[in-house]
């Protein structure tokens, strides 16, 4: 056996065959197992795989621009870059602890230099405990490229579509702003967000585990649909004039704020809307100039309240007490219902008894005496207004106000419109009715009262107020044009025309002389009211306003200017009046409305002298307005401390005297 080679036995062969049998069985089992994974579980696994293998990227639609009526860009989309940091990656960059510290320092230095940020700010952010954190946004392309080329650990440069407002604070309360995701947050940006935003597309691709796109596999591209460009009824030039003048007016009056709204009465299109304290929507959370120190000291809750106040559009969202401007509606409706007529004369004894109350005219115990309707409006005679509203009765008065659109929101294309606060129009008592007739105890939004007055300037047709002129696609084609809509009819064309002549008289001969511009036929009504405060009215704080229609023979604009808490004068005519006049002077010229001087105006214009009118019997407010229309300054003696409607009892120089233009007339009320 030792020499001879051992032979394979039959048992060996059987065992080999058995071994092969076992191998076959195991192969069979494994085949079954593979079939289970590949065929039975195949779809489930494949789906899981697809989920990790596909990149579903959003293809951002370009947000449409906002343009003024002449095509100037007010808001546009711009490409900017955002710098994101993955702090874990930053902190684990390097083999040894020492390497890591040095690398973080180098990275911080590089970023601080590129982004012009403080070293500590950058350091704190890139070493924070967050998984992903934003280091900087609104980075320009050049800087973004520099940072990208640096290939810093854990730094990602992401292209974003950001909103840019090239004219900074210009028209900010109209435009509103967008949030970081480019979604409208306030104003027009919010109201027309769906049109501006467009429709984002998607790009689905296969990617490797490091998120690089693969050249094979899935590749589906759904193009984005860019947003529409929005053309507003706003006129950049008019808006500019207004913004400039209200800032000047605010300083002159030492006022809390000045607001102004200009509409085209024939279309309802808003030509300009502004308030002092315009913020910069490029950086809406920055405090307004002058508020920095105050802002620094605020708690975060106070900051939110501050922002909401700054961003709020007074002209649409807030209400104010209109005072005598409201008499326009009382008079209009009385004429329209036929309860009075233009030449009717009224007698004012200085007071009237309503229910158990005695309501005084402002100059009581003096009295307006006999006056025509036009004079009564010009004199702002409360007794006459009470008489007119009593003739109409609550029901008809209420219906009339509804016809003016004052009982509900105007539906202007702007978010957050406020609602007028009138007396209860179904159950108001005689006293409430009486006070409402001359604009007290009520509050209206500037947009609603201006819209209502527009109808007087538009033959009685109340037009839907609006900002939108048209929508354009990316190629500049008009895809939607706003159709001017008549909301309701307030008064007849005849009444409207009569009212315009009353308003014109008020400028020419009455208390709205402050807005008088030679050569132009301008109508206006002024108003002054105590500012409401907790539990009643403030004794010292006043809101003055002027409503202007120009020119009255073919109204092109209706303007409302409100001065919140004027401190250098006491009246609407003297606070808001000069602002209106300054705006009108530039505006009428811009609008190419040729002056047409009357013989009297020409004489006055050429002359260096003027005749002192008779102020006695007028209210101090009206007297001051009237004086302004005659190139005279007016001084009240003694100085008025609080707002009261005072009657002029004497003046110097006397009426009829010939004095140089610019002379001062002193008026006495006691």
């Amino acid at each position: 056996m030792a020499k001879e080679r051992a032979k394979t036995t039959q048992q060996n062969r059987k065992r080999i065959l058995a071994a092969f049998g076992i191998v076959c069985l195991l192969f069979l089992a494994l085949t079954a197992r593979l079939a289970y994974h590949q065929i039975i579980k195949g779809d489930e696994y494949a789906q899981r795989a697809v989920r990790q293998q596909t990149a579903d990227q959003v293809v951002t639609a370009r947000r449409g621009s906002i343009l003024d009526r002449n095509g100037s860009v007010l808001a546009a989309s711009a490409t900017s870059y955002t710098i994101w940091v993955r702090p874990d990656t930053v902190k684990s960059n390097g083999k040894t602890e020492n390497d890591r510290i040095v690398n973080i320092q180098n990275e911080t230095n590089a970023l601080a230099e590129f982004l012009e940020m403080g070293y500590d700010d950058v350091y704190d952010t890139i070493t924070s405990d967050r998984r992903l954190i934003r280091l900087a946004k609104n980075i320009d392309e050049e800087t973004a490229k520099l940072i990208r080329d640096e290939q810093l650990a854990g730094i990602e440069v992401v292209e974003t579509d950001s909103r840019s407002y090239p004219m900074k604070t210009f028209a900010s309360h109209i435009l509103g702003m967008t949030n970081d995701d480019n979604v409208g947050l306030t104003g027009i940006e919010l109201y027309y967000n769906n049109y501006l935003a467009g429709l984002n597309g998607r790009w689905i691709t296969s990617k490797d585990s490091a998120a690089n796109a693969l050249s094979y596999g899935t590749n589906q591209y759904y193009a984005a649909q860019d947003g529409n460009d929005l053309v507003l009824t706003i006129d950049e030039n008019i808006q500019h004039i207004v913004e400039e003048q209200i800032e000047i007016g605010k300083i002159k009056n030492k006022a809390d704020g000045v607001m102004c709204l200009i509409m085209d009465p024939k279309t309802g299109g808003i030509l300009a809307m502004a308030q002092t304290g315009e913020y910069d929507p490029n950086d809406p959370r920055a405090p307004l100039a002058g508020d920095e120190a105050k802002f620094e000291a605020m708690t975060s809750e106070e900051k939110v309240a501050y922002w909401n106040k700054v961003w709020r559009n007074f002209n649409i969202s807030d209400t104010y007490e209109p005072g005598s401007v409201f008499k326009l509606f009382t008079t209009s409706l009385a004429l329209d219902y036929g309860v009075t007529y233009m030449n009717e004369t009224f007698y004012c004894p200085g007071y009237v008894r309503v229910a158990d109350w005695t309501l005084h005219c402002w100059n009581y115990p003096a009295a307006h005496g006999v006056q025509t309707l036009t004079q009564a409006v010009s004199n702002s005679c409360n007794v006459t207004m009470i008489g007119l509203v009593q003739r109409m009765g609550l029901k008809r008065f209420a219906d009339g106000l509804a016809g003016f659109g004052l009982t509900e929101k105007t539906g202007v294309d702007y978010p957050g419109e406020g609602l007028n606060m009138l007396q209860n129009l179904t159950s108001a008592g005689p006293v409430e009715l009486a006070t409402m007739s001359y604009g007290q105890g009520i509050a209206v939004t500037p947009i609603s009262i201006t819209t209502a007055v527009c109808s007087i300037a538009n033959g009685g047709k109340v037009m839907q107020p609006h900002f939108l002129k048209e929508l354009r696609d990316t190629d500049g084609n008009v895809v939607y044009e706003y159709e001017n809509t008549v909301k309701s009819i307030s008064i007849s064309a005849q009444t409207a025309s009569d009212m315009l002549s009353i308003m014109e008289y008020n400028v020419r001969q009455g208390g709205a002389g402050a807005v008088k511009i030679p050569g132009y036929r301008i109508g206006a009504k002024t108003g002054t009211a105590n500012k409401p405060e907790a539990g009643g009215y403030s004794k010292t704080d006043l809101i003055g306003s002027v409503m202007v229609v120009a020119p009255v023979d073919d109204p092109k604009i209706v303007m409302l200017c409100i001065v919140d808490t004027m401190r250098t004068t006491r009246y609407g005519s003297t606070s808001a009046g000069p602002i209106c006049k300054a705006i009108l002077t530039e505006l009428l010229q811009y609008m190419d409305i040729e002056p047409d001087y009357s013989a009297e105006e020409l004489r006055q214009l050429r002359s260096q002298r003027t005749t002192v009118p008779d102020f006695v019997g007028m209210s101090v407010e009206d007297a001051m307005g009237y004086a302004a229309g005659r190139y005279l300054n007016c001084e009240v003696s003694p100085e008025v401390e609080s707002y009261e409607e005072l009657a002029v009892i004497d003046q110097y120089p006397k009426a009829g005297e010939d004095v140089p233009k610019g002379s001062t007339v002193t008026i006495y009320y006691k």
Partner: protein
Amino acid sequence: MARLLETKNRKKSNFYVTIFTVILALFGVAMVFSASYYQSLSKFGNYYHYVKDDLMWLGIGMAAFIICGLLNYHIYSVFAWPLLGIGVVLLLLIFTPLGITLNNATRWLDFKYFTVMPGEIIKSCLVFWIASFYAKDPDRIHRLKPNAAVLAVLAFCAALIVLQPNLSTAGTVVLIGIGMMFIAGFSLKLILLVGALGVGGFVLIILSPKGAYMLERVETFFDPFKDALGSGYQVVQGLLALGSGGFLGVGPGQSIQKTLYLPEPQNDFIIAIIGEELGFVGVLALLLVYLMLIYNCFKVAMGAKDYFGMLLAGGITLHLAIQVILNVAVVSASFFPTGVALPLVSLGGNATVLFLAEMGIIVNISKHTIDEIEAEA
């Protein structure tokens, strides 16, 4: 049955073993390239880093295949003891500074210009030694002492490998040894007993302090999706590849799982990429090729002219079969995840050279058949 026991077509085995070996090796190169080019590009900036490596090992392996095919296989009997000695020495060198530690395991020796995996080499050495040991006196398989000696050598080698730690290679070594004893005619009862002891040993190892790392991998096998981003990551990504392939596959070269999802797709998990690109059909075809190769190798064993040839061919075939089965079992989440290369197909290395050499030995054994010997006589 009887017909299968006869070895009439044994000469054809020579051809079949060669052809299936070559098919597998060439298919392996193609799949290694497909599976690895993306990773190669990502890590080295060119497509060919891994496939170049594979071709080099394949070249060496083919040379080994031809040499072993020509070299009379009795030489392994003559040098059985020295070869075993070399294998053991290499295993011991692991614990010297020559050892390379990767992922908490020391499995390679660094010889500056090339690396050696003693765990792979010892498998072949043991096959030679065990075949030679029992061929000296086939009666040894029925005696206690020699069997105890073989088991002791197996246990010693396995223990050295466990210390690396490399549980799967240790297990493979033990399985090959037991398998060869089974073919040699070892008592079935005792095999069951040894099997039981083996299972017990596994349990002991897992419960040992070093077992925590291993246990983690065992747990993963029960539900790889439970920790799909941690210990189950590779298996899950492999299964996702198999599932993505479905029945017909996504097409050659179209795998997405190889794009850095599945780690090292050209190595132990290459069959997952094959499954993704060529589908269940492709994997099934590959398994059939393996089965036919194994069948032909076993046939050579059955027809070998002497006991040594029979046991040597049997051991080599077991080595091949066990590795294929373990590999597919791991990828299909049927066994705990462990590093077992797919013979001849996975990216080449020591194992490729050894397998090709072993296939060469089979070819050589098939040249010396019973018929020839009878004809000579």
